[in-house]
Symmetry: C2
Subunit: 413 residues, 2 copies
């Protein structure tokens, strides 16, 4: 059961848009047991689109295609599919009514460009898109299914979830593939690989291990292949247990869990609350915490204290601390955390002070330096980290280090 993905759009090739659709579709197809053997991105050019379709023909069961279905003239996927499948465009009145209703709801007037989106290839099965104005299209030729969807991520996801995946799951039965992710934080990839050498050597032949590092988090992915779901699942679970025995202090969660999701669960189950006092992280920790649905149950608020006056006047950091130790120091981070905890009346509070860069570094405190404090009823702890030179990466790494410190404090209490 093989699948290929084709993403279409000049913007992908000249790098003005990152192709997030492929990853999402790859994950979904993979869960359904497909081997996604190739992702190809091509220009909005007739010959390139046809090349990509030809390349997949005969080699794969399913081809998912996104992009090039917009109302503007640079989009030519629909016309090219007509040529490839030897058909022509016809107006679909049901789709036209859907688009008209959608435009009324959004209070935008209908125009010819929207109207043309209701034209579809005669030979395809139309997939109604309730999330946007471009319908999806389902073609079949010589044993391969081709599904064309808009490139706008939430529209593609709507069509995939509601129409495409249910139908694919019905039509294909397959070898069982199980992926299991174990989420770790706190070490380097090469170091982790060294610690896990024995574990890896001892893995059964049908289970593979991969290391997926991102901003400090390393995802360990176990992939098992087999014929029977239950026995494969048991086999994977045994390996997961071994991982927990080998690196208990590094594992924080499973599957796609982020640190902020795990913290959310911990705070909910212990009925505790959290706030943050952020300088160098500039609201990113608050943003991560509140990106979790239902976070209002345990997250109360933050003070983003970029200016020193905000640190002293709102958070009560004493002037002499900043003068003596500097705004970027252990003492300041601790006072910020304590200040936020009192001001926002929470059980835990995070304080961060550091140098995200690219400017602001000194000989003793280089760009990438951060102090992270966590205040709780019992104590105030603080850690220093030194990361790299890139501002955006640093903000992310500082924030994850802070979340991990908070997580450990909640568990230790």
């Amino acid at each position: 059961m093989k699948a290929a993905i084709i993403t279409i759009g000049d913007e992908l090739l000249i790098g003005q848009t990152v192709d997030t659709n492929s990853a999402w579709m790859g994950a979904e197809l993979s869960k359904s047991g497909f081997d996604v053997y190739r992702i190809i991105s091509v220009h909005d050019r007739r010959e390139d689109i046809i090349y990509a379709l030809n390349e997949a023909a005969g080699k794969t069961d399913v081809v998912l295609i996104t992009g090039g279905l917009g109302p503007t003239s640079d989009d030519i996927t629909k016309q090219t599919l007509c040529e490839y499948f030897n058909t022509h465009l016809v107006m679909n009145n049901e789709i036209l009514s859907m688009i008209e209703e959608m435009m009324i709801h959004r209070n935008f007037p209908m125009n010819n460009k929207n109207r043309s989106q209701a034209e579809v290839p005669e030979s395809c099965r139309v997939l109604k898109n309730a999330a946007g104005t471009a319908p999806g299209m389902w073609f079949e030729k010589d044993g391969t299914i081709y599904i064309s969807m808009p490139g706008v991520p939430h529209e593609m996801k709507y069509l995939m979830t509601e129409l495409v995946l249910p139908e694919l799951n019905k039509r294909f039965t397959s070898q069982t593939i199980i992926h299991k992710n174990i989420m770790t934080y706190g070490t380097f990839e090469a170091k982790l690989a060294e610690i896990l050498t024995t574990f890896e050597t001892g893995l059964p032949e049908n289970i593979k291990l991969a290391y997926l590092p991102a901003s400090g988090v390393i995802k360990l992915r176990l992939t098992g292949t087999g014929s029977d779901y239950n026995s494969l699942s048991n086999l994977i679970n045994e390996q997961v247990d071994k991982l927990y025995e080998t690196i208990p202090e590094l594992i924080y969660g499973e599957d796609e869990e982020s640190l902020e999701m795990v913290i959310g669960k911990l705070l909910k189950s212990t009925k505790k609350t959290v706030s943050t006092a952020e300088s160098c992280t500039g609201g990113e920790i608050a943003h991560l915490l509140t990106s979790v649905a239902g976070s209002s149950a345990y997250y109360k608020g933050s003070v983003i204290a970029y200016a020193n006056s905000v640190k002293t006047q709102l958070l009560g950091v004493q002037d002499y601390i900043i003068t003596k130790h500097g705004a970027v120091s252990e003492n300041t981070a601790k006072e910020m955390a304590v200040g936020a905890r009192g001001l926002l009346k929470t059980d835990y509070a995070i304080g961060t002070s550091g140098i995200a860069g690219p400017d602001g570094g000194t000989e003793v405190k280089s760009v990438g330096t951060v102090w992270i404090a966590v205040a709780s009823e019992r104590e105030v702890i603080c850690e220093k980290h030194v990361f790299g030179n890139d501002r955006i990466t640093n903000i992310k790494r500082f924030s994850l280090a802070a979340l991990n410190l908070l997580r450990k404090q909640i568990i230790n209490h």
Copy 2:
């Protein structure tokens, strides 16, 4: 002058990692005048890697390859390249010393896995990687250059910027390609395409227009091709002037400028400051503002007021306002902005209150509803927007709408 990109890694195909490298490399190659005609992602599988290499052979001048160079056993790119180019691995002592120094600096012990990273194919030119432990490799065969780099984005970027791009630029001279982006905010893609119909029809044959929407921002990309840089540049500039005449109220910037960068420039040039009081956006506006280097010159801080108690006690929103109008209301958003402006002593302040979802919607206030206020010395203005159902998308859209409102207020003052 053609180029292809091959990204290698199981994680890309099963969707556990989004391929951001391709976009970055595509943008850089494109700036150097290359036509990146295809991006292919394949598994860490010998036959798939060889297929991708064969597919590019003879059709392109340059092939950039990333991924599969890690110290762990799932990475097999180096071995496969040896096979493809009919060579074998040899220890490179210079690279070995670099890795040893790097590990000392990071205070991590050297191990066999790191040591093996200093082994390189005998026939390649080694590209020293000061940003990590896996060196790059440069091969040439039958008129095509193949460059293999690590998949870790900042390592790939280091090698590209320091070694690969300078050399490619020296060796290739080419047709001139100029891209120019005009950044817009405030309308739909189909609506914008309608407004620009006449403009688009009147474009010279060698200039193409593309629409690239993302979270409410629509990037208009003009791409010109020609032989002479100066005359092409003039031609593009004429079209840009026409765009400014046609949609002055929708254009906020150029090239890769974000709303937060434009706001930064405006605030710096007017010597004004800003703060935020955020409920539903949970710190995302603060994060966007502080993601700009040098933002401490105009951004002082924020109060993230998720709990109503923080709205009343810190920001001074009166209890009766929340009781009468609700926490999600025009009155609350306005009071939050006014409160933050006073508390944080800034010229401007943003206030946001809304329902990011997925829960919390009511019949009269659906998920996706937000009130955004901007307070200044002169007045407090407020806008209501209604977006969709996805929490993460809503937080982003709310934040961009808020930044755009702030931008307009700064310009109007």
